[in-house]
Amino acid sequence: MAEFKPAGSMYEWFDQRLGIDKFLKVMMTEYWIPKNINFLWAMGVLLTVMFTILLISGIFLLMYYKPDMNMAFDSVNYTIMQEVGYGWLFRHIHAVGASVVFLIIYIHMFTGIYYGSYKKGRELIWISGMLLFVLFSAEGFSGYMLPWGQMSYWAAYVITEIFGGIPVIGGDLVVWIRGNFYVSDSTLTRFFMLHVLLIPLAILGAIVVHFYALRFPHVNNEEGEFFDFDKEADKYLAGDKKGSKVVPFWPVFLSKDFFVLGFFLLFFFYLVFFHYDFAMDPVNFDKADNLKTPAHIYPEWYFLWSYEVLRGFFFDIAGISGKSLGLMAFAFANAIFLVLPWLDRSPMVKPANQRPYFKYWFWFLMVDLMVLTVYGKLPPTGANAWVGFASSITFLTLFIALPFITKAEAKKVGGK
């Protein structure tokens, strides 16, 4: 047994048993973050806070929500919204939070792409981040089903139907996922389980991996500069805080993050109190009816771009049906970001504006994603369908062209 001296204080007593001093050093006061960063580096902390807010508001909703096809709609729209004290607040926080969390995820993701923070040792940060994106998408989809309104029901119908496009097993797979031949009570209860337990657990695990993956390659900086973190840390600890290129995570980095967080939360609660309606589709205030399809079915804004890729192919090409082509394009669009570190063949870790070819690629992608998002909401008729087709093709082409573009860039800059 290890030798214990009598503790002189309560703090020391705990420190002897839990190693608090050492733990805080490793996790906080001697976890080094580059100095040369901007407000975009605060998105990770914003997301952690948003996840916590969603978890807490979700716990309160869980106390009154009933996962039963006959009771779900009223438990949300009557019990929680009208009877439970501040139930409306928790619902609006949860619904607006789900939407805003995707806004921050996208900013976080495109910051990573812009600054090249996904390569040269940072591949696992990127991959665990994309895994989190997939998990959050599944969490958003399963949660959207729970109020059991018309849009809940038909979004669930359309999305589960997508699996029917998989060859051979498709039809049986859809029935297996739903637990019935159509979206019904069994579908609701199993997605309820996924939403409140399994996916949140997986998200917590993935967050731990994501944070841990940062420890060795370290956080990137505005110039993509690689330097010796140990040397810079020693400089900081020796008192040369000005000359050192790093700051400790706590209190220096986090205090700046909290400043950004303050602004963000003002914006967030402004939406919750005054503009919650954008996250509350009017169609979803009609109870789910399996015999009545709404005229237009569309997902929430954050899924629109991939939804548009799915339906962008509305005619057959070379004997392959438009439906299958759309499915293949959809699968491609959702998987391709995962392998981005290997599609970018240029060794340059620099912000996009300093990269001769990549900058065009990046801004093209941004514009294309915006076009896809806008047209994903519009009914796919006439010219809209053609814009959808062209922007879907553009999306695919951009990713297929990326290795060639970055290879040419590597040649031009001479492997720098």
């Binding site: 979206v183 019904s184 015999l291 399809t293």
Partner: protein, 169 residues
């Protein structure tokens, strides 16, 4: 050396037991997600069509979808590949969802056709699209004829013949 091989054996034995247990639990989990027996049996709807009134639409629900069953009057001509003969009478048996955007068309007995209120699509009494945006005739549910009863959800020879015809056309 001897210790090493014994430890190796224990490791392999444990791995084998764990693999069997793992596969068994995956199977159990897959089974838990399967549709329940009650759901599977509810996937087959049986309708006695002999008692139906001619030229009056009967709607039954099968797997969450409305199924149109229309008994023909004597002056209504059967449509090849779409009308079903049960006993002495012809019937239309179709999934009652408009092939445009899934609304439920209404039957107009005086004109003996279907009209969809959503976007104005029209179908004949046999479900063939004759006007408006619907891209194809109403879909047919798998069925089997058993005397004067219709079993929805099972593929009988009449259904297979109709499908072969539709596929060949």
């Amino acid at each position: 050396m001897k210790d090493e091989s014994r430890r190796g054996f224990i490791g392999k034995a444990f791995g084998a037991v764990a693999a069997v247990g793992g596969v068994a639990s995956l199977l159990a989990m897959k089974k838990t997600w399967d549709p329940l027996p009650s759901v599977m049996s509810a996937g087959f709807t049986t309708v006695d069509v002999s008692a139906l009134e001619a030229n009056k639409l009967d709607i039954v629900v099968w797997r969450g979808k409305p199924i149109f069953i229309l008994k023909y009057t004597d002056d209504m001509k059967p449509t090849d590949g779409r009308s079903v003969k049960v006993g002495d009478h012809y019937y239309s048996v179709m999934i009652g969802l408009c092939t445009h955007l899934g609304c439920i068309p209404a039957y107009r007995a005086d004109q003996k056709d279907f009209k969809c209120a959503c976007h104005g699509g029209e179908f004949t009494s046999a479900g063939i699209n004759k006007f408006g945006p619907p891209p194809r005739p109403l879909d047919l549910p798998p069925f089997k004829i058993d005397g004067t009863t219709l079993v929805l959800g099972e593929e009988g020879p009449e259904y297979k013949a109709m499908m072969a015809k539709a596929g060949g056309a």
